[in-house]
Symmetry: C2
């Protein structure tokens, strides 16, 4: 049972991340998509892994323009049985997919609200007459473009090849360098070679970012590089936060294991979310 | 011209925050609402202040359950002319508003998706038969409940008194202690007494949270308490972040002014968003 669960429908960036992850594990089985499971919502991806319907699940964690995906952070905090077993970083290149003969024949553009926002200047310059409609995913928009030749979807080239839709224009996003990072969650980490990264959540006793300094000090003095820090509310009191930290190294090897042992004695909450190979 | 702009329609929590702010400035003029300006979107609130149609604007910045309001952080970063001149902290107590004779006569419950999510357990226990519908604001739902007695809105007691809607049940949120913090933005800070807080944005040269430690060190060594730290992407490259920091003290007084002077020479970006009286 090697199913990978992702946020569907088929053709989403999460789907592409699932395919990318499987290719890393098993390069020779590139084309079999029947073992990928599309879930309608993120909690469903987590449930599929928990209930053993999938060996791994794909969760978007941050985008270089939009920032953190808070639901993913909140979900992982609640699920003690799961761990992060890998990461996938995807470039987000938006394309205009349509069966229209050319751009002038496009009357409507559909996509996910974030994709529409990321292509706003392009749409205003090239398709000022088009009716813009927000739908729940880029893949849903692609599915609709299959039915109506006057409609274009903003979606990935991955969606174009999956839905066999012509690409009228590519790289139409206003900001270059747009990337999304996904966590792969599961019950057991695959044996991939390093370098490694560790993700953890920590709450300081006084629950003030002032004490964050003493936590970061331990990492700095051990020479461990932090690659990301993200605060989330404890959901108990305004002004109380948890910190999601990504750092270099394995949680079971020095110097990180020593830093973590020291932190454990001084913090209210310390949870290792996983140690995994860099994406 | 003393207009205060807020995210409407009338009856939202932002509206209540605007009323709360005016009451702090001018306690005797409590009931005059004609100088409050409802804007349909957050960028409109910022524009109203920039274009001198309002002297102040109300922007939600964080909620104790949902976390940061990213759009507010991103908007403030772009608007160099505005500063934070105050803060308002509101308890968020959701109520069930309806003209129905009792709860059993309610067929539909409408509200903002976050309010619905925050009352999910209550709705499942008390109104399992009701059709749930998400709309763009709690106030829009209250307006609809005025028209249809089989419909209940989840909104504030403030909205109840504004729309003259009966309160069928109050404090129905699943988590207690739910609060939202708002920033008041304007061109000039009013003369309120302290204690004071300062909000700033900083980007470290290496653009790695590892260097965040050296920034926090300056604050810690000067004995300045940080009350909040929030990261946002630079929108240029995955893994590059800006940090929104709230700390105690005034930016023009020691020890904070000395820390800021030191930081200025070592950081790529340092912007003071404002010094204001605690809410």
């Amino acid at each position: 049972m090697k199913t990978i669960a992702y946020l569907g429908p088929p053709g989403t960036f999460s789907h592409e991340a699932a395919v990318t992850w499987r290719r890393r594990l098993e390069p020779e089985r590139e084309k079999e998509v029947e073992e990928l499971l599309a879930c309608p919502e993120l909690p469903g991806v987590v449930d599929a892994v928990k209930n053993h319907r999938a060996m791994a699940g794909i969760l978007p964690v941050e985008n270089s323009i939009e920032g953190a995906v808070n639901l993913t952070l909140d979900l992982l905090l609640e699920e003690m049985e799961l761990q992060i077993i890998g990461e996938v970083i995807l470039p987000i290149n938006h394309c205009l997919l349509s069966q229209a003969d050319d751009i002038n024949a496009v009357r409507e553009v559909w996509s996910h609200p974030q994709a529409l926002a990321q292509c706003r200047r392009y749409l205003a310059a090239v398709l000022p007459w088009a009716k813009i409609k927000a739908v729940t995913s880029t893949a849903e928009a692609a599915g609709e473009a299959l039915k109506r030749p006057d409609l274009a979807a903003i979606a990935s080239s991955f969606a174009a090849s999956l839905y066999r839709l012509p690409i009228l224009a590519q790289d139409i996003q206003d900001y270059s360098g747009n990337k999304t990072r996904f966590w792969v969650v599961g019950r057991e980490a695959p044996s991939l070679t390093g370098p490694y990264k560790t993700s953890l959540v920590v709450a300081a006793p006084a629950n003030r970012p002032g004490t964050l300094y003493t936590i970061l000090k331990d990492f700095a003095e051990a020479g461990i590089n932090l690659t990301r820090i993200e605060s989330r509310p404890t959901k108990k009191e305004l002004g109380e936060y948890l910190f999601f930290i990504d750092c270099e190294g394995r949680c079971d090897e020095a110097p990180l294991n020593e830093v973590l042992a020291g932190l454990k004695s001084r913090t209210v909450l310390l949870r290792i979310l996983g140690t995994y190979a860099l994406g």
